[in-house]
Point group: C2
Chain length 231, copies 2
DNA sequence: ATTTAGCTCAAGTTTTTTGTTGAGATAATG
DNA sequence: CATTATCTCAACAAAAAACTTGAGCTAAAT
């Protein structure tokens, strides 16, 4: 059984995410009536760090990147957001501002769901809430990992980790590396652009990866994992 | 007397806009406590057409452009947003979605003020509300004008109008034309990029304007006005 | 005090985006 | 039906952005 949610403009949207499958018809209706669907064009911000929010976003189609902004033009990339994932979940229960920014890497079809609706569904539907909690836990765990990485690993390890992370998305998104600039990779690895370039070249020379235009192929998965572990 | 609003991070922000001068100390405090200040980087969206909103934006510093999105990659530029102007005012009283998108043309310092705060101040302070109403009226009038232009004027007239509009901002913002691409001008004039380019060249040939790199100088103001009126 | 990790700066190259032009195609107008 | 307005397409030029490399600097770690 699939949850089918019709949008106002009669575009039928088939929500694939497991968590929506647990909603009762009334709950589906509640969500339906307090949501809107938007096309974010490539380059548009889905969320802006620090801005007020009264809703959460659910990505239907496309890819986005989540990052935190620092002073100057500094950014640190946290993750690639894929279809079926929420953005700005934190706003639902507590915060009323976004903790991070995110930007569309491709055109993105997105649901915005007002937080009262999600909140109410959560109160009624424990199974749904459990799904939501699971996502929090996952993000939490990722954040600890990121912190660990940034605090204790050096450049090589951080870049190797970045490459393996992006590579893991390649099965679903063949073109993922083409969407990312050297600056993006640098911001994932928390390093300067120049260092990122040099690292990639050195990985290539050591036959760990292959650089074809913008695409990156992992050649020696095991060694990269070693670098992630030991630095 | 100037209204001084301290932000959380002790950055002192001096709100110049006339409308804020009418607030009582308590009202200032109300606004102060339900606002946040954000730096939008060049290219960031201040608002996204159709997205839910629970706040209004007030531009302190920088320039942004307001536009409405159509199908495909079509956009129509409505105005340049300058310091002292509100963005997303409509959200305050009625709509809970943004009617239009806007994007930072330069880095922008922006206040976000939660709508309840503004709303409450409006209920208490008639003078302030009058200022707000005045802005609505102005925008309304501009929208009628735009509609008129789009419906009944042809390319030449629309481009002439665009150039005069942008030129009028030049005294305050010398670099304004440098911030706009041919696509931006085309989107202001509601025409294709190629037509926009050809129009500019033909205006230049007729000695109505001068094109220096990206800057545009109005040479014959009167004739452009004629074109706006008749053709 | 020496080494290492990694940054910034500068210069140069490549790629991408933006701008320009001419040649049809199309659709509304008189 | 002819004319005018304007769009789209394709090819190219110019400008801007992204990438690359080497050198030198700095701060932490040995």
């Amino acid at each position: 059984m699939k949850t089918i949610i019709h949008t106002d403009n009669d575009f039928i949207c088939d929500i694939q995410a497991p968590c929506f499958q647990t909603l009762s018809p009334e709950e589906v209706e509640l969500v339906r009536s307090s949501k809107t669907q938007i096309l974010f064009r490539k380059g548009d911000n889905l969320t802006k760090q620090g801005a007020f929010t009264s809703y959460t976003l659910f990505l239907i189609k496309g890819l986005a990147k989540q990052y935190i902004e620092g002073d100057g033009n500094k950014s640190y990339n946290l993750r690639i957001i894929r279809p079926g994932e929420f953005v700005g979940l934190s706003a639902i229960f507590q915060s009323n501002t976004f903790d991070y920014s995110s930007v569309a890497l491709t055109d993105c079809q997105v649901f915005l769901i007002e937080k009262e609706a999600i909140n109410r569904v959560c109160m009624q539907n424990g199974v749904f809430t459990t799904h939501i909690v699971r996502r929090y836990i996952e993000q939490n765990s990722n954040l600890y990992e990121k912190l660990q990485t940034v605090l204790y690993k050096q450049m090589n390890g951080r870049m190797a980790e970045t490459l393996l992370y992006i590579d893991a998305l390649k099965s679903e998104n063949h073109e993922i590396f083409q969407l990312l600039s050297r600056k993006d990779l640098a911001d994932f690895a928390a390093t300067s652009i120049e260092s990122a370039v040099k690292l990639l070249k050195s990985f290539e020379k050591d036959e760990l990866i292959r650089l074809n235009e913008k695409d990156i192929e992992i050649v020696n998965h095991a060694s990269l994992l070693e670098i992630v572990k030991h630095g």
